[in-house]
């Protein structure tokens, strides 16, 4: 039995957040702080022929106007293709062309209007399939020549394809020859905006000794630190990054986005802090977008439903720069099979430069895209073969002993997807579906999912633990609290590992690369899992030290010392010492001190990961899997085409819910975000290549009126030896299969095969009309 794990503790950050005390980057004001505004190109693809900043420079309050004219910096982590400010060429309409630094944001905004830029427009391209063609306008003349890590990024020179991932498993030709039925279709998952409610913000100060300090709304402080170090050739130890609370991230604040721009501008006014807070418009036009896939998939099966072959091509409209998206392309490729075993796979994924903002990680990255295709085709296959969908799914699930697309063998510990399916099926399909009436069609849909995060092969979490003289402890990790509840879960894990109440644990709230232990980054739902293991490791070492210190006092062997969370106890004599008295070693009455201060470091890395083989796309590239299923009952209004979700059920095998309440919160919120992608959200462009829907309400996201009338959540706990007390990644997962689940339900309701998102009421009405 656990005392602190598996319990619904209130969030440790909640009081600060309900009282308005929690600090986010935009809330920070520093001494000698200036404000920055950005001039964006407003054209999708053009050469800059001149920039005149002279009037702007002479305006009230203006300290500096910065352009990219003489900037030869390209930044990146695996593909160095992006300048902090456009230099000679703009590649999307939101690209920064100049930055004004002034005493107030209003002065900076006024001065922006006085900057004169002339351009020579070039033809532009937004569609990834068009952009991948040989005769498409070339967005990067140097594609293929940029510095890149060649084992993982595979550019095709002379084209807009900056990354080609291929998966070659088995013999797909033979697979299709063996198939009794084949289904296929074209699919689309449009560009969308993460819409974390907090717009991106960053503050940067160059100190006069050359060191750099930055505050940012960013999920990846150490990646950011290393990028800044590389950009300005300053040792990483001289770059300090602070991260306060994040108002949501969803991947849109991972790696780097606006920070290189702010740092570059700040480098011209050393001694000053320079602050940039994006407007909502700029979040959409000038930070990162998500998804943006056009794909084709073909799936073959035997007449008994056994899958034999999969062929897919996916083109990602990855925008103007590629460093934040190549990994999405790779992971989309080897996860497009969904949770199904398919012996023969042939998949090509193209990361394509297009003239839109760059794409970056977005909740579940790569998975929702492929899962849309495979789940819709499974539904069709089941109908064609006249086998119930749950049956055909179970036949092909990646269960114990099956082999995934990467060639890795699935074991029992990886989770029980059949149980997930039975649970959601039981919730949705055993209720009688209402019969079509005058006002509504009704339908039910089902989809299955698997997620295995893509991470850097050396990705690790580390933890510092410090014990105080009252026996309370500090836990210091660099997992970013962005709403997912990581600080709460960290507290519970530490409490369990130390066997002491949660109230004695304090998890550091701010991450500061000067004091916080190294961490890869807060992405891929890995903090509970990886950070949790790091905490366990640090706690185990702290208990060992306490026992050692006690053994010195007891003059006994350490094996005779017990620890109970409050005391170290001599097993034979029953003598006990409060742990606080051992925290700095033990001091006798006369002051003589023995033992070791109780401060420890723990770490965890998912072991033995490799990058996929460049030729086959296979290898030990996935370190963890979480499986789940989702099902929905919907109704469609005949008059308006509007879809109501009457009941949405989700089931995931997450190993262990450390905090069932916050875990449920992740599922409920993720489902609604997925419904946004399914039924409303899409970045659309004007004729001139600028984004049309740059703020609410034009960019439509779910509001309270749009949520399911009922959500049911099942969290199953198959024991495993992965995360702390079996806890596995689960926070992105609720979004992965929502779209195909709803599209399958729409087919059930009105018999129309949708394959493109979002499905709007007008699409529904149009399709009903066509049918009639």
């Amino acid at each position: 039995m656990h005392n602190y794990v598996g319990k619904e503790f209130d969030r440790v950050d909640a009081v600060d957040k309900v009282t308005g005390i929690a600090v986010f980057t935009a809330d920070i004001a520093l001494p000698r702080m200036l404000h920055m505004k950005v001039l964006r190109s407003g054209r999708p693809h053009a050469l800059i022929t001149s920039i005149d900043t002279s009037t702007a420079e002479s305006m009230d309050g203006v300290k500096k106007v910065v352009t990219g004219t003489n900037c030869d910096i390209l930044f990146g982590t695996c593909l160095w293709d992006q300048p902090p400010l456009a230099n000679g060429k703009v590649r999307h309409a939101g690209e920064p062309v100049a930055a004004v630094i002034a005493e107030t944001p209003w002065q900076a905004a006024e001065a922006l209007k006085k900057i004169k830029v002339t351009y020579e427009d070039l033809p532009y391209v937004l569609d990834p399939i068009e952009a991948a063609k040989q005769d498409a306008p070339l967005i990067h003349e140097k594609n293929g020549e940029y510095r890149h890590i060649s084992y993982v990024v595979h550019p095709i020179k002379g084209s807009n394809i900056f990354h080609h991932y291929k998966l070659r498993k088995g013999d797909v030709k033979k697979g299709f020859v063996d198939a009794d039925v084949i289904v296929e279709d074209n699919f689309e998952f449009p560009l969308s905006s993460h819409t974390a409610l907090e717009p991106h913000a960053a503050i940067c100060r160059f100190h006069h000794d050359g060191s750099i300090e930055m505050w940012a709304s960013n999920q990846a402080p150490f990646v950011l630190r290393d990028v800044l170090s590389d950009m300005f050739k300053v040792p990483a130890s001289k770059v300090r990054v602070h991260i306060p609370y994040l108002g949501g991230g969803f991947g849109g604040k991972s790696d780097v986005s606006i920070e290189p721009l702010v740092a570059y501008a700040a480098s011209f006014v050393p001694g000053y802090a320079v602050k940039l807070v994006l407007t909502r418009q700029e979040v959409i036009t000038g930070s990162l977008l998500g998804r943006g896939m056009k794909g084709h998939m073909r799936l073959g099966a035997k007449s008994d439903g056994t899958l034999v072959a999969l062929e897919a091509s996916m083109y990602f409209a990855d925008g103007a720069y590629g460093d934040t998206s190549w990994a999405i392309d790779t992971v989309a490729g080897h996860n497009c099979t969904g949770p199904f075993e398919i012996p023969n796979c042939h998949v090509d994924v193209y990361g394509v430069y297009t003239n839109s903002p760059s794409v970056g990680a977005y909740r579940g990255y790569g998975h929702p895209e492929g899962h849309l295709m495979v789940n819709r085709l499974m539904d069709r296959l089941a109908r064609k073969l006249n086998i119930p969908l749950p049956e055909i799914m179970k036949k092909n699930f990646l269960k114990e002993g099956k082999v995934n697309a990467l060639g890795q063998k699935i074991t029992k510990h990886h989770g029980d997807i059949c149980k997930c399916l039975d649970a959601v099926y039981g919730s949705i399909f055993t209720e009688n579906v209402p019969k079509e009436d005058d006002d509504y069609f009704y339908g039910r849909g089902l989809a299955a999912m698997m997620k295995s995060p893509k991470m850097s092969t050396n990705a690790a979490s580390t933890c510092y633990l410090q014990m105080n003289v009252d026996g309370s402890i500090f836990i210091n990790l660099s997992g970013i609290e962005m709403g997912q509840g990581v600080h709460t879960v960290f507290s519970q894990i530490a409490a369990e590992a130390m066997n002491m109440p949660v109230c004695k644990i304090n998890v550091y709230k701010d991450v500061d690369t000067q004091f916080s232990p190294w961490e890869w980054q807060t992405v891929a739902s890995m903090q509970t899992y990886r950070g949790g293991r790091a905490i366990q490791d640090a706690c185990r070492k702290a208990v060992e030290l306490l026992k050692y210190n006690a053994s010195l006092v007891f003059h006994s062997d350490v094996s005779h010392v017990d620890y109970d969370g409050q005391y170290c106890i001599h097993k034979l004599t029953g003598e006990r010492i409060p742990i606080g008295s051992l925290a700095r070693g033990y001091s006798y009455e006369n002051g003589l001190t023995v033992g070791i201060p109780v401060q420890t470091t723990g770490y965890y890395r998912v072991a033995d990961l490799t990058e996929p083989d460049p030729e086959t796309g296979m290898g030990n590239a996935a370190g963890s899997w979480t499986f789940g299923c989702q099902a929905a009952l919907i109704r469609i209004a005949k008059a308006t085409g509007k879809i109501d979700i009457l009941h949405f059920a989700s089931a995931f095998d997450i190993g262990k819910a450390i905090n069932p309440k916050t875990a449920r919160g992740q599922v409920v919120g993720g489902v609604v975000q997925g419904l946004g992608a399914t039924l409303m959200e899409k970045i659309s462009f004007k004729e001139d290549g600028n984004i049309k829907n740059v703020n609410f309400p034009a960019y439509v996201v779910p509001r309270i009126k749009d949520i399911p009338h009922k959500q049911t959540v099942f969290l199953f706990e198959t024991p495993n030896n992965e995360g702390p007390w079996s806890a596995k990644p689960m926070a992105e997962h609720p979004i992965v299969a929502v779209a195909p689940c709803i599209l399958n339900a729409i087919y059930d309701a009105i018999g129309v095969e949708f394959a493109k998102l979002p499905v709007l009421p007008s699409d529904i009405l149009g399709s009903i009309d066509r049918k009639e």
Partner: protein
């Protein structure tokens, strides 16, 4: 540069408004340090910047600062009294309605205004009020739960 006066959370305050299109939210955040009021959209659409002005909920990103001359403002910082959380704040914690927390102050102020005027607001009116807000994290289920919980709690206090 203009000078304006207002009463904020019970205190008389004076603000210097710099030149430009300065909004109430800018004054609250930049001049008074009341950064609990958030900006999510700047155009009155997300509700993150909601405060109470002369008894009415307003999106402070759409109220020109000078229009707030001589007004009474209540912000999220003014809700907890002597270290005691307001029942709406308590309810948000209890219902698990806080994730990233960026939408939270605005939502709490909206409900404060609603329940002050109409303690018996039915679920439709509550949803209408919450419909003016965007929360990207929670999926709203727990926010509605918090609202209903707070309403029940507030009624026991009168």
């Amino acid at each position: 540069m203009k000078l304006i006066n207002m009463t904020v959370n019970g205190d008389k305050m004076v603000a210097y408004i710099p030149d430009g299109r300065v909004m109430l939210v800018d004054v609250l955040r930049d001049q008074f340090g009341l950064t609990g009021t958030k900006v999510g959209c700047g155009v009155g659409q997300c509700g993150a910047c909601t405060v109470i002005m002369n008894g009415e909920p307003v999106t402070s990103c759409t109220v020109l600062a000078e229009k707030a001359e001589s007004s009474e403002i209540l912000t999220i910082e003014g809700l907890a009294k002597e270290g005691q959380l307001h029942p709406i704040q308590e309810a948000f914690i209890k219902a698990g309605a806080v994730q990233c927390g960026f939408c939270t102050p605005g939502l709490i102020m909206r409900l404060y205004a609603l329940f002050s005027k109409n303690p018996d607001a039915d679920e439709t009116s509550i949803k209408d009020a919450l419909g003016k807000h965007i929360c990207r994290c929670t999926g709203y289920e727990s926010i509605l739960e918090a609202a209903l919980l707070a309403q029940k709690e507030l009624k026991t206090l009168v």
